[in-house]
Symmetry: C3
């Protein structure tokens, strides 16, 4: 039976870990000696396989990452569709388009402006469909990249403290990432731009479905100064995070005292304001958070990895220190895309 | 000496049959087990060969089908030209463009808005040129697909009763198909939308060059009810079709009685209204024929295959029964494109 | 250490000769039997290598030539960027774009409207960048093609008499070519369209850096009639050109008499008026030089090769004789592109 990847929920935790193990192996075997996060050479896993990319929205990174992955695995790629010069311009339905494509290719990767388009397409064809972004909805392979990068940088996702920065309302990558992090029991700390808060239904689902517990900032930090502008910390079940403001050890489920981790930010995940999805009349204030070397000072950021799904505009500093951090992570992030599927 | 395929007449009947035999063989060898009309894997017939596609008009299906064919045969494809960002925009002649391309590629596939463009291009280069559609003129590989699909579905083209439905005036695929069908001695039954009749010169050529005889509807069917809105049936020479309205056997050329086939519709070939080629002020009436499960009822449609070159708009029903028929045929049709050249 | 080709000066004379030797070898091995200037088949030098082309400006020839070269050498190509549907449209910096691309590809080829863009990109990545044209600045691989074609046609570049015709002011290919010719000690004879003269700084650099000596037309030709509308001849150091109007032998550096070549035009390099780079209000006069069979009459053109980087508009005659000359050279020129890098 064919499998599709239309949302991150099409994969179980076990399958995600398997994909990551495979990607690790590809990186170990194909990584360039001096730049181990970059993949070189060509395997033959996908020899004789043909991928087609149907991109109805702008994309460089996503499209090229899939093409590169397919080519590095030994397969071939059919040129992408230009929405303007395609049959869609003659009024063809998506169903008819993909039904024809399945006669040419073994795999469809699709980006589409409408939510649910990839899922709909998947139902019309017998070959796998991978969602490369459907409107403001999902972007599951971006989430896989993010999780994979975090796992490589930190060895585990469990109990990672992830600061989510910027536009947490519109970004399709962020919502998928929140659920992905929750599934692997990371702790989630939203730091939204004003007016771009995480939607309430996302917070609710974090609690009800994933059993994350929301701690108010004051409960965790007391009157501590120099904290980032956050309100709440969603703590994973069974977290080893030290939840007392005073840093004392707490009793575990089994009644014994356990060594607790202090709340340091392992990851700072920065997102761009999606200007093209602003409501009419809505304006970006001057208070959109900027992550730079100044922001990253202090004991809570001693080992922080900065990630950004790109493209970045101005929300990530261009000063040397954080750029190095960011670009390293971003590069690794992109490399992992190469390794997938 | 190089060969071009600029019109369907660049190939003899024997060559067309050879191509079909080859495509049959490819399908048998490369067809996917559960979907034998779909081709998988990769051969090496075209290893080391490079195709370039010069598409000066919108296309998804045709362009991708050629790319897929080339890749499945082991060859490579150069990215297509975007008419807007190409040298044509700087005023270059077609002759200069193709003369340069022949230094890069071993084969040119071209779509162009002007009639005869592919033929003109072919005269400037020493490598083969295949016409992927030139204005309202010809689309020979579409015709090959159609004929191949009909042959696969019905074993032979001879004496097939083909109902041609819709815009028989503007569709470039239809005129090529009419002559292709005539060459293989199928019987042709036009059922045009009002105002989109088969041009007179096509009917005349059917009679003069291919010796098809036009029977008026009344002569064939008498007062029979429940017939589709047709006027004439172009019957191939030596047809075994039962031409008497009463269904009696008729004497053959050799004077003996032969078993005659009743007039059932083996094929219903539906075309879209080519809105973009309407004359200014010309409007599409509400009486454009729609082929759906209701239309296909009755004893004359017991074994009818519905074909459509796509894209379809509304002229083909979306209700389950005919869709299944249509999409199966269409898929097979597309698969055959994959097998060619 | 990685190497980039952003300007022709990124390569030493020795390296250029090495590349030409390699291209000669490719042509000998891969040239089609009946059209030895065309390359066929596929090598495996670049097996497993992936090229990406970032073209932010229109191109057919350059882009396809690089794609064809990569494919003929056994490598793969990622589909090109459409500037309109790319991340650049979302405000991404060139630095971020290329840093991501280096995770996908082993080589970047770039065309960009801004001068210096390729060099800037090269500084951000660890993989080689080849400049496919940056604004009105440089187009180094075009220069390599031109020099290679001249070498093949004339066996050596030294002392070739090259007539440069047309728009010598705006053409990015011409300035690179002038310096390339100078490095290999060709003699350079500008024949500009009125108002499109070679910039003064180019002439100065020819003298100061490459030690070419400018001879006034009268000094060389006396009152000879039937000369092309030229003003000056830049003669290479140690030239064996006969510099006396009377054709007498002159004394060499070592004081002995040497056999001197008369001033015949070995090459006529024709360029198109770059209409898109005209200053506002600037008009093309009716006196733009046209090279055709009439122009090429006379004893000084007995063995002239006509080259044109294409696209041509009207500055190169379409009458049979010169067309043959031109298209042969141009084809060869393009073939050499195929062989490179």
């Amino acid at each position: 039976m064919k499998r599709d990847v239309c949302t991150i929920n099409d994969l179980t935790n076990e399958e995600i870990e398997e994909i990551f193990d495979l990607a690790d192996r590809f990186l170990a075997e194909m990584g360039k000696p001096e730049r181990p996060h970059q993949i070189g050479g060509r395997r033959s896993d996908a020899a004789g396989q043909v991928m087609t990319s149907l991109f109805y929205e702008p994309s460089t990174r996503t499209r090229f990452s899939f093409e590169a992955a397919m080519v590095r695995l030994g397969g071939s790629v059919l040129g992408t569709v230009d929405p303007v010069t395609s049959s869609a311009a003659k009024g063809e339905s998506l169903a008819d388009t993909v039904r024809v494509m399945e006669n040419y290719a073994d795999l469809i990767v699709m980006r589409h402006p409408y939510e649910g388009a990839a899922r709909a397409a998947a139902e019309y064809v017998d070959i796998p469909v991978i969602n490369g972004g459907d409107g403001g909805h999902e972007h599951p392979t971006q989430t896989l990249c993010d999780l994979f990068t975090l796992r490589r940088e930190n060895r585990t996702l469990k109990d990672l403290n992830v600061l989510l920065v910027g536009d947490l309302k519109n970004g399709r990558t962020v919502h998928s990432l929140v659920y992905g992090l929750a599934r692997f029991k990371a702790n989630i700390i939203p730091m939204p731009a004003k007016g771009f808060e995480l939607p309430e239904h996302v917070g609710r689902r974090l609690q009800e479905e994933y059993h994350h517990h929301p701690y108010a900032k004051e409960a965790l930090f007391g009157g501590e100064k120099d904290l980032p502008p956050i309100d709440v910390v969603y703590v994973a079940p069974d977290s080893e995070l030290n939840l007392s403001a005073q840093g004392q050890a707490a009793a575990g489920d089994d009644g014994t005292e356990r060594k607790k981790r202090p709340l340091e930010f392992d990851v700072c995940y920065v997102t761009r304001l999606q200007g093209e999805r602003l409501a009419p009349g809505q304006k970006l204030g001057t208070d959109y958070p900027v992550i730079d070397s100044k922001f990253l000072r202090g004991r809570r950021y001693r080992d922080t990895r900065v990630l950004h799904p790109l493209p970045r505009v101005n929300e990530l500093g261009y000063d040397p220190t954080p750029i190095r951090a960011a670009s390293t992570s971003s590069r690794r992030l992109m490399a992992c895309r190469c390794a997938w599927p």
